[in-house]
């Protein structure tokens, strides 16, 4: 029987013949950019969260959409320490799932935050009690008032009283506010209040006003208010049609170049994403590829296949040429070889599909050398997934 645990799997998957296969290829560069696997040794970069005194790895886990306890356990094994949830996520099921996982771990081995929607003091505190019951904990490390979008809301006396009461009761070690709109105004109001210790804010390379957000973040950091970043992936796609994926590792690193940001909480729903994000905990350096991949249009130059009709009919093997060209763009344009591999796997293409043709009949109107690109990208199908960082 095939017996291999997670750690051995991760170690072994980066070895083997696939390395030689990729030598002298652009794919090699992508493979070399792979960060350390979860659980791999390496110094984890940490930062202090304002005046709270909490020290956190720069990458944390947004649990929001994760419903798999194994994923949370793997995140903690990878060295991540901070887990972020909310009272309303999955109508409480998210907190319940986390509670089941975290009861296996010493309370001081993780830092958990939850968010409770703004409400009258008693209702707010009742919701906090319900969250704690679901989480099976006596306190959360950070309690946010959820999703405020104006300075007036931040400074509302009922909200401030509720947060103060939560902290005094010991049910919240620290209090904060989360915001994904009018962030500079919210951040500055939080600083002015003297009550909030942490702000969880949207920040990403696609925001029109990111410079203003960063300026407010700097002011907060100077005042000792800790900053945690969310929405770092900027929606995960450059385009509305979701055909041009954001290089998520690059986007995450972009945010973390700002030392005023203590940690980020990208949503993690796959082990691939976990591996990629955990790698950033050891390596914040941005390559030229990372930088260019964040410039809309620049990353797809000469790579974008418009899918004009006729390609597949002209191919004597009937290959789905536009899909294969899309896999090529995912790899070389967006640095997402895993997405390309998934696409190719679904197409069930492997080996050398162009090997039997002496001459290509496709005749791409964009001038793509189709057989060269096909041969190059199809090699991905023989690379272990975890090798593609």
């Amino acid at each position: 029987m095939d017996k291999m645990d997670r750690r051995n799997f991760i170690k072994s998957s980066v070895m083997g013949a696939s390395l030689s296969l990729l030598s002298s290829s652009p794919l090699t560069a992508i493979a070399r950019e792979a960060g350390p696997a979860p659980g791999a040794p390496g110094k984890i970069i940490t930062r202090r969260l304002g005046k709270t005194g909490i020290e956190l790895p720069v990458v944390s886990m947004g649990v929001m959409r994760a419903d798999n306890p194994a994923l949370v356990r793997a995140a903690l094994e990878s060295g991540m320490k901070h887990l972020d949830t909310a009272h309303g996520y999955q109508k409480g099921n998210n907190e319940t799932m986390l509670g089941e996982v975290l009861k296996e771990h010493p309370r001081d081995s993780f830092v958990i935050s939850t968010k409770v929607p703004p409400d009258a003091k008693d209702a707010f505190l009742a919701n906090l009690d319900l969250s704690l019951k679901r989480l099976q904990m006596e306190y959360v490390d950070i309690l946010y008032v959820h999703g405020l979008t104006s300075g007036d809301d931040v400074l509302s006396s009922s909200t401030l009283e509720a947060l103060a009461a939560a902290r005094e009761s010991g049910k919240a070690r620290h209090v904060g506010v989360s915001t994904h709109r009018n962030e500079p105004e919210v951040i500055r109001a939080a600083v002015r209040s003297g009550v909030y210790e942490v702000v969880l804010t949207s920040i990403n390379f696609k925001q029109d006003h990111y410079r203003e957000v960063k300026k407010a973040i700097a002011e907060a950091a100077a005042a000792g208010v800790g900053i945690i970043a969310m929405k770092t992936m900027a929606g995960a796609f450059h385009d509305k049609e979701r055909t041009k994926p954001v290089n998520c590792k690059a986007a995450l690193k972009w945010v973390l170049q700002d030392a005023n940001v203590t940690t980020a909480i990208p949503g993690i729903t796959t082990f691939d994403q976990l591996t990629e994000n955990a790698g950033v905990n050891n390596d914040l350096a941005m390559t030229e590829n990372h930088k260019s991949s964040l410039v809309p249009g620049q990353s797809e130059g000469g790579l974008y296949c418009p899918g004009c009709p006729g390609c597949t009919d002209r191919c004597t093997r009937g290959l789905p040429v536009p899909d294969i060209m899309r896999a090529y763009m995912y790899t070389y344009g967006y640095g997402d070889a895993r997405l390309a591999q998934d696409l190719l796997a679904g197409l069930r293409i492997a080996g050398d599909p162009c090997g039997e043709c002496a001459e290509c009949t496709v005749g791409c109107p964009r001038g793509f050398n189709v057989p060269v690109r096909v041969r190059d990208i199809v090699r991905l199908t023989s690379v272990p997934a975890e090798f593609l960082g």
Partner: protein, 281 residues
């Protein structure tokens, strides 16, 4: 015209007028102040970070209406429309808890103080009221049933879900995972349910047998396994992240069992499931 005369009880007339909401005799109807329709572009504005989960389940749009009766009971109706019945069931199941107080409304619903939520075809319907006690619950149930009738959705659960065996299934634990099932990007569109003994069963019904085999092979590669899957035979896969997985490739379906009960129990449940699967085309 006759239908129009009957006023609030007339669903056909409402539909002819193009309203997604029914009128109800004795209740005033009005959209809430501000926005009453949301799309994927601005769903964040109303449900904050929870929007991401809704978007992953093919959220199409949200329509909101408020009803008020002569006693002052208020009822707010939120209609979340999704791209398919499976997606609507998926988001409903994500927020459902087996311990809720379930009622017969739409395909299924549950009621709590000030809240009544239910599944209705491609819609996930959320109803709330500020009125406490029986008056609030009765008001929500009345409006909810009118909404369910008015939407005119086909009753019943998604067909693939009904393939999971009923024997020893824990009530109201069924779910649909649209993407990244078990933490793998290659696994998607999975219906699951929990069973006695700590076992979870799942089934994915894909577009074709070829596609199913492609997904299964991609999973094996992602999990670092090199086992050959034989059509129609249950294989034990030592998944590096999720523990042992009993998996079956049959026609265009991939099904499996995993959980605390161990391999023997997983196999017993898989045998129950296997006989329910359609024969390969």
């Amino acid at each position: 015209m006759l239908l129009l005369i009957t006023g609030g009880e007339c669903y056909s007339a409402d539909a002819a007028n193009g309203s997604i909401f029914p009128t109800v005799a004795g209740w005033k109807i009005a959209p809430p102040p501000g926005d009453s329709v949301y799309t994927p572009d601005n769903l964040w504005d109303i449900i904050d970070g929870a929007a991401e989960l809704f978007l992953s389940y093919g959220f199409v749009d949200l329509h909101i209406m408020e009803y008020t009766d002569t006693t002052g009971t208020d009822v707010r109706v939120e209609l979340y429309r999704h791209a398919s019945r499976a997606n609507a069931f998926g988001i409903y199941s994500q927020e459902r808890n087996p311990g809720y107080n379930f009622i017969e409304i739409g395909t299924q619903g549950y009621v709590e103080e000030k809240v009544l939520n239910f599944l209705c075809g491609m819609y996930y319907v959320k109803i709330s009221s500020h009125r406490e006690g029986k008056a609030g619950i009765d008001g929500m149930a009345l409006i909810g049933r009118r909404v369910a009738e008015h939407l005119g959705q086909k009753a019943g659960w998604p067909a693939t879900l009904t393939l999971l065996p009923a024997e020893k299934r824990l009530p109201n634990t069924e779910s649909y995972i649209a993407e990244n099932f078990l933490g793998y990007r290659v696994f998607h569109s999975a219906f699951t349910a929990r069973y006695e003994g700590g076992c979870t069963l799942f089934i994915m019904d894909l577009e074709s047998a070829s596609r199913a085999r492609g997904v299964a092979e991609a999973y094996m590669k992602a999990a670092g396994r090199q086992l050959e899957l034989t059509e129609g035979e249950i294989a034990d896969i030592p998944d590096p992240h999720n523990g042992s997985l009993a998996m079956l490739l049959k026609g265009r379906t991939i099904s499996g069992a995993f959980g605390a009960g161990g391999e023997a129990l997983a196999h017993r449940y898989m045998e129950l499931l296997k006989v329910r699967l359609p024969a390969p085309e």
